[in-house]
Amino acid sequence: MAGFILKRLLQAVFVVLAVTLIVSFAIRLSGDPAIMLMGGGNVTEQDLQNIRQALGLERPFFVQYLSFLEGMTTGDFGKSFMGGTPVSMLIANALPATLLLAFTSLIASIILSVPLGVYAAVNRGRWPDQMIRILSLVGLSFPNFWLAIMMVLLFSIVLGLLPPSGMEGPESFVMPALTMAIILTATNVRLVRTSMLETLSQQYIMVARSKGLRDRVVLYKHALRNSAIPLVTYIGLQFGGLIGGIVIIERVFNWPGMGTLAFDAISNRDYPVLQGTITVLALFIVLINLLVDIAYGLIDPRIRTE
C-alpha cells in the first residue's frame, strides 16, 4: 500500500511540475511585463529597467520558475498589476465561491443520477432505460453555457423568478448550481447505469436473490454498495471537467469566483492574477484526483497491483 501511495504521489508531483512549467512558460510568452505594467506611457528605459529589477525579470527563465515554485509553497503568487493587491488575497476571495458551486452541483447531481441510473439498469432495454439513455445523451450534446443562457431566458426573463446574474443572495445560487448539476447528471446517469449493470451480473447477486432476499435489499444493499466504488473514482476524475465547466458558467452568471477572476485578468492583461488562478485551480484538480485514487486503492486492493 505504501508503494502504491508513493507511486501516485510521485506522479502527482510530476503533474504539478508540468502544470507550473506550462503556466510559467505561457506567461513568459506574453511579452515584457514591465512595459505592460507602465501602460506604454511616458517612461524612460531606466524606469523599465528598475521595474524589471524589482520584479526579478532580468533573471533567466529557470531561476524565475524556481522562485515561482518557491513562492507557491508559501502561497505567494506575486501582486496584481491592477492596484498591487496580492494575488493570493484575490484568490482567497474567489475560490470559496467556485468550490461552493462545484460541491453543491456535484452533490445535487449524485442525488439525481443514482436513482435514475439504478432504475435504468434494472429496466435494461425497456423503454424507461431507453428514455433515460436518450435524455442523458441529449444532455451531453449541448454546451453548458448555452444551458445557462436558456436558464436565464426561462427563469429570469419569461418567469421573472430569479436574478439573471451576480451573487445577491440564495436565489442567485440556484441557476448556476442547477446548470452544472444537469450537465453532470447527464454523464453520471450513464456511469451509474453501466456500473450497476456490471454488478448485477455478478454471482453474489444471484446468490442473494436465490436465498430469497427482497429485490430492494439486493439492489440497494448488495448491488449499489459494490457499484459505488468505481463510481467514486469516475466522479473524482470528472473534477477537472467540472472546474473547467464552472469557469465558463461563471462568465454567464457573473458569479464572483475563479472564472470571473481569470477572465477579468485576461481582459486587463493582468498576468500574475491569471497565472495564480490557473495554477491554484490546476493544483486543486490534481489534489482531488490524488485523494480519490488513494481512497480507491485503500478500499479496493485489486487496484494497487495494477
Binding site: A12, V19, I22, W146, M150, I278
Partner: protein, 285 residues
C-alpha cells in the same frame, strides 16, 4: 426466455433507431453546412434593415427570424456551422495521425520509447486542458488554427494509448508471427496486418471526439478566445445573442439547437458504432 428475447428485440429496434436518428442528424447538418455557400451566397452577412428583429416562424424570407442588424438567423446558423465542423474534423484528423503513428511504434517496437510515452501520457491526461487552453489563447491571441493545434496537442495521447493497447494484444498472435515467419517486413506487418485491426476503436473515438471538439470550440469562441467575432460561428452568435436575450431570444436559441443536433447526431453514431465494433468496451467512457 421469451421475455429475454423481447428485450433483445426491443434493444435491436432501439439500436436501429439510434443509427437512423444519428445518421439523419449528422448527415442533415453536415450537408446543409457543406452546401451553405450555395444555399446562402451572401454568407449570412446581408442586412435587411427593414426586417430587423423579425421573430421566427413569421416570415418566409426569414424562417428563423433576424437579429438586431436584420441578418437572417437561419443563414448565419448554417454558415456558422462551417467553422465548427472544420475545427471538429481537422483537430481529430491531426490527433489521429500523430497518435496512431506513436502508438504503433510504441506498441510494436516496445522498449524505452514505450515507457517514456506511457509516463508522458499519464501526466498529460491529468492536465486540466480547458484551463491551459484558456490561458494560452488569452496570451497568444485567438484563431482557428491555434484552437485546432491545441486540440491536437491535448488529444493525440488518447489515440496513442488506444493503438498501443491494441497492438500489444495483437503482436504475438499467430497471424502476425506467421507473417513474420514468411519474411514480411515490419512496415508491411504494421500497416497491412495490425492497423486494420485497430481501426474500429479508433473510428469510435474519432466520432465522439469530433462531437466533443465542436462543444469545446463553441465554448472557447463564446468566451471570446476562439474564432474571430466577425466570422459567423455558433459560439460567436451565442455570445452576441446573450446581450439581447431580452428582446430577441431566438438569436440565442437556434445556434444552440444547431450545436445540439450536430453533437447529438455524432454521439448517437458513436454509441451505435461502439455496440457494433467494440462490444467489450475499450472505448467506453
Amino acid at each position: 426466455m421469451a421475455a429475454a428475447q423481447a428485450v433483445s428485440s426491443a434493444r435491436r429496434h432501439f439500436r436501429s433507431l439510434e443509427l437512423v436518428l444519428g445518421l439523419v442528424l449528422t448527415a442533415g447538418m453536415g450537408l446543409a453546412v457543406l452546401f451553405s455557400g450555395f444555399l446562402f451566397p451572401d454568407g449570412g452577412e446581408s442586412m435587411d434593415l427593414m426586417a430587423r428583429l423579425t421573430p421566427p416562424f413569421q416570415s418566409l424570407a426569414h424562417p428563423l427570424g433576424t437579429d438586431p442588424l436584420g441578418r437572417d438567423v437561419l443563414a448565419r446558423v448554417i454558415v456558422g456551422g462551417q467553422i465548427s465542423l472544420t475545427v471538429g474534423v481537422l483537430s481529430v484528423v491531426g490527433a489521429v495521425i500523430v497518435g496512431t503513428i506513436v502508438g504503433l511504434v510504441a506498441g510494436y517496437y516496445r522498449g524505452i520509447a514505450e515507457v517514456l510515452l506511457m509516463r508522458f501520457a499519464d501526466i498529460q491526461l491529468a492536465l486540466p486542458f480547458i484551463l491551459l487552453a484558456i490561458m494560452f489563447l488569452a496570451i497568444l491571441g485567438t484563431g482557428v488554427d491555434k484552437i485546432i493545434f491545441f486540440m491536437i496537442v491535448a488529444q493525440w495521447v488518447q489515440y496513442a494509448r488506444l493503438v498501443r493497447g491494441s497492438v500489444l494484444a495483437l503482436r504475438d498472435r499467430e497471424f502476425i508471427l506467421s507473417a513474420r515467419a514468411i519474411g514480411v517486413g515490419n512496415g508491411r506487418i504494421i500497416f497491412t496486418h495490425i492497423l486494420p485491426n485497430v481501426l474500429g476503436p479508433i473510428v469510435i473515438l474519432m466520432t465522439l471526439n469530433v462531437a466533443n471538439n465542436i462543444l469545446l470550440e463553441s465554448s472557447l469562441t463564446f468566451l471570446g478566445l476562439g474564432v474571430d467575432p466577425l466570422i459567423p460561428s455558433w459560439g460567436g452568435m451565442l455570445a452576441d445573442g446573450r446581450t439581447y436575450l431580452q428582446t430577441a431570444w431566438w438569436v440565442s436559441v437556434f445556434p444552440g439547437l444547431a450545436i445540439m443536433f450536430t453533437v447529438l447526431g455524432l454521439n448517437l453514431l458513436g454509441d451505435w458504432l461502439r455496440d457494433l465494433l467494440d462490444p467489450t468496451g475499450q472505448t467506453s467512457r
